[in-house]
């Protein structure tokens, strides 16, 4: 099956004799161009087959066919890093980076910046302190703007300095309480137009809802923009360089916020819908006193499935699910919960799920990032003991 594919047109053209008014061919001459090898579609699709399925399935992403041959070549080299050596323009992102890690919203912001930057531009992360994961999020450069901590006045002044010294084309902020605050300060400080709360984002224009979501306003991309959550997909390309760039320290300014102290939420009184960490009990939990002790030891807000709320064992406010609260927690810890669809609807927004259940085939186990098939009472006891041991 390695016969070459013929190219009659090319062969004829090769035999043409130059000069003369009419086209003439030297039919005795041998064509040099033997054409490209003939394709064998049957063998190609056999290579794409992935096993383990009742019906034949093909992986057309290019991963399956290419992987076996290229493993030896690529293994010794480091993962490929995209570099923009001399960018035509700079696009800045100011992530919230609470606790020195990027949130999902921050990553989406980098996705938006990469969309604006294209191949020629570079994305600059303006961060205070060391933030992890900037390279994979899509940052080409890193510029420090002051120390970590709450200092919106200093931050706005530092970004205003960078705006002119680095000649930033766009600056993107997350539309959160802190990011939105700094963006508005910067807008009045620098006199640049601000387009806030962008819901529709493209490379050339942006739009936002106004008048109580009755109209949407559209404009060409403005220099300062705040982007709503889930407006743009996060960057998914190869890792970027994230090269630190030195800048002159900002001139000291007069601050009116004399002292700032963060007060963490009291998990016992936080409403479920805003809680960050929820530990929840279902029908598999029989010892509720132990469950409450565990919630307190973990510093988590207690929740429950409808079975326990209907039985009157937990208050109705703590019900998680379609007819209870829909969570926005970072982590959901489910003890003895089967994972009915009505319950899972309430958990859909949670980033991480940990489940403990005696049934390996429970839907909650399938949803969980860490699943423990064990008795919930024993695990709760061991968790409290482990936390006590660490505290002592």
């Amino acid at each position: 099956m390695t016969r070459l594919r013929r190219n009659p047109r090319g062969e004829r053209a090769a035999k043409a004799v130059a000069g003369g008014a009419r086209i003439r061919f030297d039919l005795a001459a041998r064509a040099e161009d033997r054409g490209r090898p003939r394709r064998d579609p049957r063998a190609e699709s056999a290579e794409l087959l992935i096993g383990g399925h009742a019906r034949p399935r093909l992986d057309r992403s290019g991963a399956a066919g290419a992987a076996p041959s290229s493993v030896e070549e690529t293994a010794p080299t480091a993962p490929k890093i995209a570099v923009v050596e001399s960018p035509a323009f700079l696009i800045a992102v100011v992530p919230d980076a609470l606790g020195e890690r990027l949130s999902q919203h921050d990553r989406q912001l980098f996705g938006a910046a990469r969309m604006l930057a294209g191949a020629d531009g570079a994305v600059v992360a303006l961060v205070a302190g060391e933030v992890e994961g900037l390279a994979s999020a899509g940052a080409d450069r890193i510029v420090a703007i002051g120390e970590p901590g709450y200092d919106p006045e200093g931050r706005a002044a530092a970004i205003a300095g960078a705006l002119s010294s680095l000649g930033l084309r766009y600056v993107l902020f997350p539309e959160t309480s802190d990011g939105g605050d700094v963006a508005r300060r910067l807008a009045v400080l620098s006199g640049e137009p601000l387009f806030s709360d962008v819901e529709q984002f493209s490379a050339t224009s942006v739009s936002r809802a106004a008048r109580g979501r009755r109209v949407e306003q559209r404009a060409a991309s403005k220099r300062l923009m705040t982007v709503a959550a889930d407006a743009v997909a996060a960057y998914a390309g190869p890792e970027r360089e994230a090269r630190p760039e030195p800048v002159a320290p900002a001139a000291p300014i007069k601050r009116a916020i004399l002292d700032a102290r963060r007060i963490t939420a009291d998990p016992a009184t936080t409403p479920l819908t805003v809680a960050d960490f929820v530990v929840s009990a279902g029908n598999g939990v029989t010892d509720l006193a132990l469950f409450r002790r565990l919630a307190e030891a973990l510093g988590a807000t207690p929740g429950a499935s409808r079975m326990l709320c209907d039985a009157g064992l937990m208050p109705r406010e703590s019900q998680v699910g379609a007819s209870g609260s829909v969570l926005t927690a970072t982590c959901y810890f489910a003890l003895g919960i089967a994972g009915a669809p009505q319950h899972l609807q309430g958990v859909a927004g949670c980033e991480h799920v940990v489940a403990v259940n005696t049934d390996l085939h429970a839907a909650m186990i399938e949803r969980a990032g860490l699943a423990i098939v064990a008795d919930a009472q024993d695990v709760m006891q061991a968790l409290i003991a482990a936390l006590k041991e660490e505290g002592a």
């Binding site: 309480s177 601000l194 109580g212 916020i257 700032a260 939420a265 839907a363």
Partner: protein, 256 residues
């Protein structure tokens, strides 16, 4: 302490009727708890900002400007004369552009500090300071000590507004002032009717089969990567759970 509350003309989120935005009525409650307060509204009519009189505001200054004019220069011109120590405003307007830029513009032109998203304001220990409790996401709070004069924007999590009372509304005073002439018109953006769009699926893989995308949309992540421990000892399970909770950052790191 001279306190001014900025009151705008809002639209009801459902019916579209002219109302005083709820967050500004909440700002009024915070102001009245601190001392005597005055209201300030820039617009063609005093209504619906005059509804604040029923929520306990004794005196409203209405600066008359045309409907299409930018309210900020008019507010700044009249506030410069009064020199207030504290200005309270809403976090965002309601029914207008909803950019939340007006308090920032007022603060910068009056040379005042600004603090956002307050849910409580009290007098500070030192003279000329206030303590502001700021609402943060996920139920957290921040306690700030702020030097006056300052503009404070109020968050919807602040205490509910005082009840409306008709008799109190009748006793309140509305003082109308004329705005300085030559106000610039507010910038208008291109507008069209709002259209709902499909939501971005955060956890959805960009590629993958239809059933995988459906599973992602329903909240089930790819089951293949899940870390499942079958019948571990309770101690093993506890250690694995604590390590996982620390890795994702919801539990503080182990105290050494």
């Amino acid at each position: 302490m001279k306190i001014v509350v900025l009151l705008s003309a809002g639209l009801h989120p459902v019916s579209g009727q002219s109302i005083l935005p709820k967050v500004e009525a909440q700002a009024l409650r915070l102001a009245l708890a601190l001392g005597e307060a005055r209201g300030r509204h820039a617009g063609p009519t005093a209504f619906p900002a005059s509804d604040a009189l029923g929520h306990g505001l004794p005196h409203l200054v209405h600066v008359e400007i045309p409907a299409e004019a930018d309210p900020v220069p008019a507010l700044v011109a009249t506030l410069e004369a009064d020199q207030p120590d504290l200005i309270l405003a809403g976090r965002r307007g309601q029914g207008g552009d909803e950019t939340g830029l007006a308090p920032y513009a007022v603060a910068s032109r009056l040379g005042m500090a600004l603090v956002s998203d307050a849910i409580a304001v009290e007098r500070g220990e030192a003279d000329g300071t206030v303590i502001v409790h700021q609402a943060l996401p996920k139920g957290a709070r921040r306690r700030l000590v702020v030097r006056l004069p300052a503009v404070v924007t109020v968050h919807p999590d602040a205490p509910a507004p005082r009840a409306f009372a008709y008799g109190v509304a009748r006793r309140g005073i509305v003082e109308t002032r004329l705005a300085p002439p030559g106000l610039p018109a507010a910038e208008r953006l291109e507008e069209r009717p709002y259209r709902r769009r499909p939501k971005l699926m955060r956890s959805a893989p960009a590629c993958g089969s239809a059933s995988e995308r459906l599973a992602a949309a329903m909240g089930a992540t790819s089951s293949g990567v899940a870390n499942v421990m079958v019948n571990p000892t309770p101690e093993e399970a506890a250690r694995a759970i604590l390590a996982h909770l620390r890795a994702i950052g919801v539990l503080p790191p182990k105290a050494a």
